[in-house]
């Protein structure tokens, strides 16, 4: 008898069944919100170029309740996005010091440290 291999179709809901794939898809989804926030920043630059009145209305829109909710959602996704990538950096950039591998936890901790430092500098520069 000739061969008759059976191909199982992949269901559109393949990522819903397991925590591993669900978290992966959430990580991929975060890029959408990061993209939207980048677009908001670009709009801000355009509004700045249009003069003071346009810039003030842009700032007012940012401070409105929907504006704040949108930024909080973007912040939450950005934090999740950053944390997932920090956790993956030891795979991407394995380091060796004097021939010995640097423990993955140290590499991740260094990223969190750098993040805290940069945040502190931004906060100081913003005068908060």
């Amino acid at each position: 008898m000739s061969r008759r291999p059976y191909v199982r179709p992949m269901k559109p809901s393949w990522w819903l069944g397991q925590r591993r794939y669900l978290l992966y898809m959430i990580r991929e989804l975060t890029s959408l919100f990061i993209g939207l926030y980048c677009a908001l920043m670009v709009v801000g630059i355009f509004r700045l170029g249009q003069g003071k009145a346009a810039w003030d209305s842009f700032l007012a829109a940012l401070s409105s309740p929907p504006g704040i909710v949108f930024q909080l959602i973007c912040l939450a996704f950005a934090i999740y996005h950053s944390m997932t990538w920090f956790d993956l950096t030891p795979k991407t950039m394995p380091l060796r010091l004097k021939g010995e591998p640097v423990p993955p936890k140290t590499i991740v901790a260094f990223h969190y440290g750098a993040w805290a430092l940069v945040s502190l500098i931004v906060l100081i520069a913003a005068g908060i």
Binding site: R3, Y6, V7, R8, Y24, L88, K91, T92
Partner: protein, 247 residues
Amino acid sequence: MSEEVKLEILRYQPELANEPHLQSYTVPYHEDWVVLDALNHIKDHVDATLSYRWSCHMAICGSCGMMINGEPKLACHAFLRDYRHRTIRIEPLEHFPIERDLVIVMDGFMDKLASVRPYLITNQKRQLGEGENLQTPLQLMAFKQYTLCINCMLCYAACPQCGLNEEFVGPAALALAHRYNLDSRDHGKDERADVVASDSGIWECTFAGACSDVCPKHVDPAAAIQQTKLSASLDWFKSWLRLGAYR
């Protein structure tokens, strides 16, 4: 009555049906049995028509990979005691066509493995009398982890990209390419780049990381692929700089 375990096995018998179906079996429970022991019990005492691959029973040969309750595992590495008081569902590895029962078609995988030229490519012609190609422990450590792959294909079953794009070269083959690229005796990186850095190669990987989660030998193919991406990007940037210098 002694304890029993219920197994649900996805069966595909192309001479009898056009589609696979689930078949239930009951086997005795033993504290030290793995799923492969249960399958062997069925084959020997219950239903001799059940087909599956196995050989070593010690997580070395990589033959008995299958989906066990939705997770790609070696049947010889999955103890019944870890699934106690639950029905165990056994299916052929995901993302591969089914040849028969739990046996998958692995031709595509073998072609992908060969496509990355997984052997030493050297531009130094050496005579036998010159002796071995020596390597320091540090040079060996750079790639040793990636030599441990047993070609069990669990990573292909775990990788969503392998399911979505059958052209994707996939975790094991790309990790093996990385293994040779990192070898101090090898000079074949540029030759392998035709496949490794192609549209079906490393750039098809979205770093779901599932391949490394399921790898029974801790090869960490996800790490190999990300490191290859970094290295390929640097190579591209260097060649771009060099082109700029000639202008």
